[in-house]
């Protein structure tokens, strides 16, 4: 799975779940005030609000677990066995670089002039 598009997908799923849950809260409050106005008893919410609440809850739980990032394997010794020394011993900060063009510098010839 490509990193960037997966993480935006999962973030937007989490956001959609949250918006959906807030919408359920608003619908339930509306339903309650309707019942109060028509002087009916409150026993349970209508089935569609119930279903939407459960679905958005599961969506939030699933996407929040994936938004936080991937699990990393904890065994350091078994991981390293499959990698070559070139991969593990690579340290870009310690690269050295040498070049002949330093001989074009005006200060270079001064060090080589025979005594």
């Amino acid at each position: 799975m490509s990193g960037g598009s997966w993480s935006t997908l999962v973030r937007s799923l989490c956001f959609i779940g949250l918006i959906s849950l807030i919408h359920c809260a608003y619908s339930a409050a509306q339903h309650r005030s309707y019942l109060r106005l028509t002087e009916q008893e409150f026993t349970r919410l209508p089935a569609d609000i119930l279903l939407q609440t459960i679905v958005s809850l599961v969506l939030i739980c699933y996407s929040a677990a994936h938004v936080a990032g991937d699990f990393l394997p904890i065994r350091a010794d078994t991981q390293v066995r499959t990698k070559s020394w070139d991969t593990v011993g690579n340290c870009p900060s310690f690269y050295t670089f040498d070049h002949r063009a330093k001989s074009l510098s005006p200060y270079f010839a001064a060090d080589l002039r025979p005594q």
């Binding site: 849950l21 809260a25 339930a28 609440t53 350091a76």
Partner: protein, 118 residues
Amino acid sequence: MPKRSASATPGEENKDGPLPQYSELAIRTNIGILEYSRTCQAAASGMAAGILGLTGVSGFLFYVICVLVQAAVWELKAGLDWRTFFLDRTLSVGHSIVGGLFTYILFWVFLYGMVHVY
């Protein structure tokens, strides 16, 4: 960059062979992921319980169900191979279960008040 190990001298032997070495960074990252998603799950399930108008024992039962659902989500995320990512097998159900309960109760009471009382 090679990972730092948490155990003693590398290559140390015991009767079962060399001691396993664990990456501290990986352990910390994984526990952090559990903590983050536990808080999100507790908040969302508290909101759902408040919206549904649950009271008393049924509310706590709903929390237990959501903890089990979250355990299933984590097991799926780990590819059903929990031991590769965690030292403790019981973490998928038991991680931060009481802390999550407090967050759950907070959101439950708040949303119940918002939806059913006001």
